[in-house]
């Protein structure tokens, strides 16, 4: 047991003028940052706001910035971070603050709704079922591990620093689109939107999203780059362009 100091972001009245407030608490073996927040909430600050649900890294609710790094509070053990100096816990900075550690992530839900939904080919068997081989769905299953914690959106400089929320859907929704585009049964085409409304070109593959992903999805290499290639094939490949004129789709 040792006493650890935490500096937790507390918002002022009406959610503005926040500041870091110091709390001290005892740390015990195996404790994670979310335990600390709960302990402080139960004993020192009943109204300290934070989101959480599963406490096992499966729901993606407790996203925050711990010592400046976007992380899940429930999966950050105190013995993984230096606790000999104060540990800072702040809300995700790429989204508007609501209160304390809680931010307004509703933009993400609006973005998802604009992406064309799954549209399967007709069933393969008379009983209405499909056949797919495991090796053909492995890559889609990687993308579908996403727990929508939005840490990738938080760290992405296009959103965080350049505020392109209206022009760029962010890594989460590029992964989502990749999962749909690479789904063996899907028949929809989402490539034109990716280029135009969804701003895939803004991503300059700095891979920060991949670094922070708690599910270890190789966002940039496996999702974004293949989508960029599809955009190139569709819009910038002169031979492909010629082919489309000779043999139009449909």
């Amino acid at each position: 047991m040792s006493t650890v100091t935490f500096k937790i972001w507390r918002s002022g009245e009406d959610g503005k003028d926040g500041k870091l407030v110091e709390y001290q608490t005892e740390a015990s073996e195996g404790m994670v940052v979310l335990d600390v927040v709960h302990k402080i909430q139960a004993t020192q600050a009943n109204d300290l706001a934070c989101r959480w649900n599963c406490k096992a890294g499966k729901c993606g609710s407790c996203s925050a910035e711990i010592n400046g790094k976007p992380s899940l509070m429930c999966m950050t053990r105190l013995d993984m971070i230096p606790i000999d100096k104060p540990v800072t816990i702040e809300p995700m900075r790429a989204f508007p603050p609501l209160r304390d550690l809680v931010t307004d992530v509703s933009w993400n839900f609006r973005v998802k709704k604009k992406i064309k939904q799954f549209k399967p080919r007709p069933p393969d068997a008379p009983d209405g079922t499909w056949r797919m081989q495991q090796e053909d769905i492995d890559r889609v299953q990687e993308f579908r591990k996403c727990i929508e914690c939005f840490l990738c959106q938080d760290v992405c400089h296009v959103l965080r620093d350049h505020n392109k929320h209206d022009e760029f859907i962010g890594p989460r929704y590029l992964v989502y689109t990749a999962a749909l585009e690479m789904h063996p049964l899907d028949t929809e085409d989402r490539i034109p939107e990716l280029k135009k409304a969804q701003g895939i070109g803004y991503c300059n593959i700095t891979k920060c999203c991949t670094t922070v992903c708690p599910e270890h999805i190789t966002i940039t290499d496996n999702a974004i780059i293949p989508l960029k290639e599809r955009v190139v094939d569709e819009f910038y490949d002169p031979l492909g362009w010629l082919w489309k004129i000779i043999r139009p789709k449909g």
Partner: protein
Amino acid sequence: MAINYETFEYDVLVIGAGGAGLRAAIEASSAGVTVGLVCKSLLGKAHTVMAEGGMAAAMGNVDDRDSWKVHFADTMRGGQYVNNWRMAELHAKEAPARVQELEAWGAVFDRTKEGKISQRNFGGHRYPRLAHVGDRTGLEMIRTLQDHGIHQGITVHMEWTIVRLLKDGNRVVGAFGYDRERGRFKVFKAKAVVIASGGLGRAFKITSNSWEGTGDGHSLAYHAGAELLDMEFVQFHPTGMIWPPSVQGILVTESVRGEGGVLRNKDGKRFMFDDIPDNYKNQTSTDPEEGWRYTQNDKNARRPPELLTRDHVARCINREVKAGRGSPHGGVFLDISWIKEKISNAPEHIKKKLPSMYHQFMQLANLDITKEPMEVGPTTHYAMGGVRVNGETQMSSVPGLFAAGECAAGLHGANRLGGNSLSDLLVFGKRAGEFAAKFAKENPHVQIDEAQVEAAAQEALAPFEHGASTGGSAEGPYQVQHELQNMMQELVGIVRTEGEMKQALERLGTLRDRAAKAAVYGHREYNPGWHTALDLKHLLTISEAIAMSALDRQESRGGHFREDFPDKSAEAAKVNSVVWKAEDGSMKLRREPIPPLPEELKQIIEEMSK
């Protein structure tokens, strides 16, 4: 006092956006009625996301001997025959179609070699039956329903909480609640209400449930006049994490055992072989080698005793620990790493089959499950009991009020089989949505009674008044909550006795008084102290229902184990426990005879037990 609130009007209001709530909302909406969906957390974060193993459906993709009849018989045997047999029948018949529907909506299940949906073994299921995606099936399910649902014209109110149902005479006509963000009051006018609020594990100290599992739906329905059924049956999942302390209770999926994991005590003995119940003897292997073959899909092998039903495995673990044969931190060992004796690439195999377990132990306990055994112990996991519903329509005893999923009772009887929960959500979520929409089409809107709204608002604001009037000296809600959880864990937990439960009922009275005075400070915007204070009413209500029903059932059956009545009783086998709120506000209980099984279902059970 004039209450400020915003009013919303829907044909069907769904409370809860886990698997059952989303499925109900999708169904109601496709029936052409307007649907509002209220959830305490963000969309896609509900407890369904935690489900790991899979969803049970007799599709016969891996073993074609499977059929709805076998699934039905397995469910009844697992539930020790106090189930609502009509629900068990419908569930077994309809689950395959519900699972295949998910595929049509974009779910990507693991495949068989023929390219069909793969199915895995699980405790109490005779054949490999669980459609799955590694060990993150719940995530796949909720995401599929969510991503399909957002295009169905459903209005979603995220991070809103319902604190009371509104009535007109006997009928439910709406609900009252608040939004977390601003703490402003909301009134819903609805022709039908579907409760799909999930479980109540937070009434206990050690639980796999998140903060949301406070029995809201059970309690809302109860206070609105609905009956609660079989509340004594609480499932203690045998394998929760126990070390380090901060992760105590977090679930370790049954799939670990389904993939060949074994339970051992501190002497290295596989103690599950010591105690195999009679009704499972002919299906259970006494030979470790045969058990291993079963986990590797050998159709001629019988299941290892680690895959007996959860109630039984949990009690065996409890016994080992009490006898001093437990692991260092008061549990037993669950070992999957041993399969390296059988498989050459065991570490990769384990990571592929149990990715989130590997991840969970690496990250939270600094333990590599491909190399070392895990330490596990029982954790409060699931409520078999809940709102009493009509097996076909899911309507409660209150007209216009429906319930589906964990908060509804009947399907699972005294013990739920792993994998039957996710399929339950789909089958009965759909039915609840369908019949709620039908009810809404047949019944007009009714005016909301202002007096009820005002009373609900005053009750909701009371904790702030206590805070203001006592000037910081009063007790907060967290202390009451912690004490309740400790008390329920100790006195109404996995092993129960009459004396302890009487004591629990007494102490609930004191806790109720303290909860009624609990004080909250600050303002209404995203104030977790306030939310905790409001949840207390639900926790206290369902705790009383559990203790009262458990005290009344003088036998041991499924999730309910009485040290003073360790055997099953033929008398108690014939009844369900029903709890309701009397005119004077007190909780009443009666035993109600279980309707007799129709001949054809009886025959199926007999045939399958050969």
